[in-house]
Symmetry: C2
Subunit: 576 residues, 2 copies
């Protein structure tokens, strides 16, 4: 196995040289400085490399197991999970008032990337906990927070999100799970949810489900959905575990990838639940968690594409096959390493320009998440608007590019990449889910174009682009960046003008629009990174490659948008 | 399971309306007319649908099994394979002089597409036989042909190709398997080959390996490689099976997909082999087989992407989620089928425009393969040049587009598409191999740009483009077709001018060049199909979609090519 190497130098470059996050740290309530941040990153890298990565492929082969409602994680996961909880890795971003560490998201994004990259299957048992605690902290009563958050930040208890039902995925308005009033202000939850990541497993003492359900008599559709906290074991006022609550795992899914992660069907049979937030406002509460979860899924893709690149570049330096087109490089050997072949380099550079672009973008988005909590509303207001705008792009564009990069990494292995023992094919299978869950990438695109851009009148986008134009860039690329930002704004304007008379244009153009947005933002990031790297990271190599080989895709997407929706809408549905 | 529906109407449209293949059939030695062709296609479709498709997912779950050198195909494969042999499906394109049916490749390509689409895992036990018989027929002595071809066309014996060694894949010049002279003009073959599809299995009485090896004292590199016929059981002059030959399966591979197909490591330990063709000319002989096998691998991708589309469109018509942007379509229902959402239509139209474009391209290439055997050298000469030029594009562009289409099909299923039981994830895993084996798609691109275009001085390409320009096209698209053909020629000219001083440009630009070529050819095919469809197949819908949404990619690839190779070649190898 190629060892996982934590990309610490790149994190340092992004955090300090590119985004200067340490300048904003004195404003935060929890103490954080570069020294602490470095020790966190280094320790995280060590756990990722030494504890998590070695269990990745065995977890895939063994898979999670279900036996009469009991779910077991793969061999070794319990010991590794204990390392995560002992290190406090589930509570890094948590609220210090309830035992969290209050670290900035710019830092925890780096932590998450390393854990996703080293072992996505294992980190899935922990990652949902972050989203769940984020939601509880934002919307639950202080009593519920005090009862549940400390043990979740500790990792003694983990979190799960129960939204989907078999007939209601994207369209949550159709969900049927119901909540009946019990005495003492609690509810009895009954229904069946599917696709519940870590809904049942054997790594933690308790599992805290956040469940969407309809209170009896609630309005139809999305306006009648409430959010409930439903623990596997009931918890008394002293925080002690009591009797088992009324739900169980009916089965776990057999999946293309993330096979070591247990994805349950959960049957709730009058399970006791506590309302979070107001009745019928559950979807809004859930979206607090989803924004965070969506960024995290983008980072999952990023972590895996970094892993894929490391495997592919290592293989390309070792595998001897053919000769460089400019003549033998290793004259004594029977052949040159395939990294000497321009097409292999093209594949590796594509992976790396996309992956390092994605890392910069993830940190950029995390910086906005941090600023959104700034005490000055002038700072937090604009940052929150940027978070809303950027979240669907982070989730979809990073995961799409991660899939592309992982497939290219596999391609570098030739026939060996199709063999399970190479371990690269697992990365491809695992990364695929990041394009699908937490709202498919098509749904992200609709959210971006429909809700975040057009419903907003394009104002936040204009504000962001104006901000981007203020930054100093590598002069070699400044014109191209300006042009692609113009292209993005023009496409927006064209869509605003079309959408009034053509309600189908948003759906038809959304995915190309999101891609155009992504390539425009990465252009800015590459021009900025190229300027700020002192040469030690080779960012100028990647910037040049990005502008030569990848940015031209933006024009393709813009052209497709302007060709309109007729070719999509005209065919009759029966013809398909 | 969505039933597999053979695309018979589309085959008829392509064979007769688009390419008029029946006009060339009177020139052929084996009798063939529309009536016979129709009965072949219909019967093939029935076998694909009723016998093969139902075994596809169980084969993936069960996989092929290895036990101490004995290899078992999945449950049910033996009975289904017997149906294939009884129907004569392994000898459709075979030489009638030795028991083959002599059917035109335009027809057998359609046959292959249906078998690949219905059950790639099963057809892999048969498909290698076609390539092997093709090679034996072209290069072996009459005595070997008479001894081996009839039983192979019958399917009693199957074929296998043994090229790769663990250290020698693309770079066959490094191979070590050796051949020592035995008395009677035969050879003793010793060495280990990997990745041998159907090299060992339990579906046929005998397995005929074509093995590349070095005769003792042969020159180094590719000029010292010879081709040998090495049967699992020796065969006497009466065609009766004798003793077991000296080779065995050392193991089978665990793979990302095509898990029901047994991919063996084969250890040859002094196995008796018969020279095919001249000594040290083995690679040339192998390429006879490879041209055919490469077209077949493209068709494999095509068949699977058709299967993926059928699954996705069927799901999209049934799955209810949300409402159409223009208002409810099924007002009585809780939601509209997702096919009413423009983004789902965009995904389905992309799949279909690519898949039906690929089908047209595969038949176009098969027509050239047929013409290459025409008695008039004026006809066969140009066709053979076209076959050489088109083969790498057929293999790589069709399989790349098939992967893209299959991923989109999976995306249409949302979360359900990641679940094994949906069966769509298997298609994605199975189709992935078509981009890798028979020469990776990167190698196809180098073959196209380096050998088939630049070494040829661009002459065959110019001849082909001039031919394409003669055809009548749908007027709506004629200008765009002319422009993209110009773009292809311009990129070629630019590369010819650059390649003299820059030996790296070919490798750096090859993959984009192949994609540009593919989109140009598909533009011509869509403009032609749009003209010739009477409206019953909806080709005009797909042509419009192709020109609006997919053809703009050609400019992207052309732009990347013209940005040169500096960004690929400048980084130091150690930096990666």
């Amino acid at each position: 196995m190629t060892p996982y190497v934590p990309p610490i130098a790149d994190f340092n470059f992004l955090l300090y040289d590119v985004f200067g996050v340490d300048e904003e740290w004195p404003d935060r309530s929890a103490a954080i400085d570069k020294e602490l941040a470095n020790s966190i990153l280094n320790e995280c890298g060590r756990v990722a490399q030494d504890v998590m990565a070695p269990l990745s492929s065995s977890a895939d082969r063994e898979g999670a197991k279900w036996d009469d409602g009991k779910v077991s994680a793969p061999t070794g996961f319990k010991q590794a999970f204990d390392v995560l909880t002992e290190g406090g890795w589930l509570g890094t971003a948590g609220n210090p008032e309830f035992g969290g560490q209050g670290m900035p998201k710019a830092l925890t994004t780096a932590v998450e990337e390393m854990f996703w990259g080293a072992n996505t299957n294992l980190w899935l048992y922990a990652a949902l906990t972050s989203g769940a605690t984020y939601c509880i902290d934002a919307h639950a009563s202080n009593e519920l927070k005090a009862r549940f958050l400390p043990a979740m930040y500790d990792g003694r208890w983990t979190g799960a999100m129960a939204l989907t039902e078999s007939h209601a995925g994207t369209d949550l308005g159709m969900m049927r799970t119901r909540a009946e009033h019990l005495e003492g202000g609690t509810y009895a939850i009954t229904g069946t949810k599917i696709f519940i990541t870590s809904g049942e497993h054997d790594l933690a003492e308790n599992i805290v489900h956040l469940v969407l359900a309809r209170i009896e008599g609630a309005p139809q559709g999305t306006r009648g959905i409430s959010l409930f906290l439903v623990p596997k074991y009931l918890v008394n006022d002293q925080g002690e575990l009591g009797e088992r609550n009324g739900f169980a795992s009916g089965s776990i899914e057999h999946k293309m990838g993330i096979r070591g992660s247990a994805t349950s069907v959960i049957n709730y049979e009058g399970a006791k639940g506590y309302l979070i937030g107001e009745a019928n406002a559950g979807l809004r509460c859930m979206f607090t968690m989803m924004n965070y979860a969506r960024v995290s899924v983008g980072v999952q893709g990023l972590g895996l594409s970094e892993r894929a690149y490391q495997m592919a570049s290592s293989y390309a330096k070792e595998r001897l096959q053919g000769r460089a087109p400019t003549g033998p490089v290793k004259e004594q050997g029977a052949a040159d390493p395939i990294i000497e072949h321009p097409d292999v380099r093209r594949m590796l550079l594509t992976q790396r320009a996309l992956t390092e672009g994605s890392r910069a973008f993830a940190v950029f988005a995390a910086v906005q998440l941090d600023r959104a909590e700034h005490p000055d509303p002038g700072v937090s207001g604009v940052a929150l608007r940027y978070v809303e705008l950027l979240t669907p792009i982070v989730k979809a564009f990073i995961s799409d590019r991660a899939m592309e990069a992982s497939l290219l990494a596999q391609q570098c292995f030739g026939g060996h990449g199709y063999i399970v023992e190479s371990e690269i094919e697992q990365v491809v299978r695992d990364v695929r889910i990041s394009q699908i869950y937490e709202g498919t990438n098509g749904i992200q695109a609709l959210d971006l174009l429909g809700r975040k851009v057009l419903q907003d009148g394009g104002n936040t986008l204009a504000e962001l682009v104006a901000d981007l134009r203020q930054a100093e860039l590598d002069r070699s690329y400044a014109t191209k960046v300006s042009e692609v930002l113009d292209l993005w704004l023009e496409a927006t304007e064209w869509l605003r003008n079309s959408a009034g008379s053509n309600p189908s244009i948003v759906g038809a153009a959304a995915v190309d629009y999101l891609s155009l947005a992504g390539y425009a933002i990465y252009a800015w990031l590459w021009a900025r990174m190229s300027l700020l790297d002192d040469g030690s990271l080779g960012k100028s190599n990647l910037a040049r490659f990005y502008f030569d080989q990848l940015l031209p895709r933006s024009e393709y997407h813009a052209n497709v948008i302007k060709n309109g929706s007729d070719s999509v809408t005209l065919p009759n549905s029966d013809w398909f």
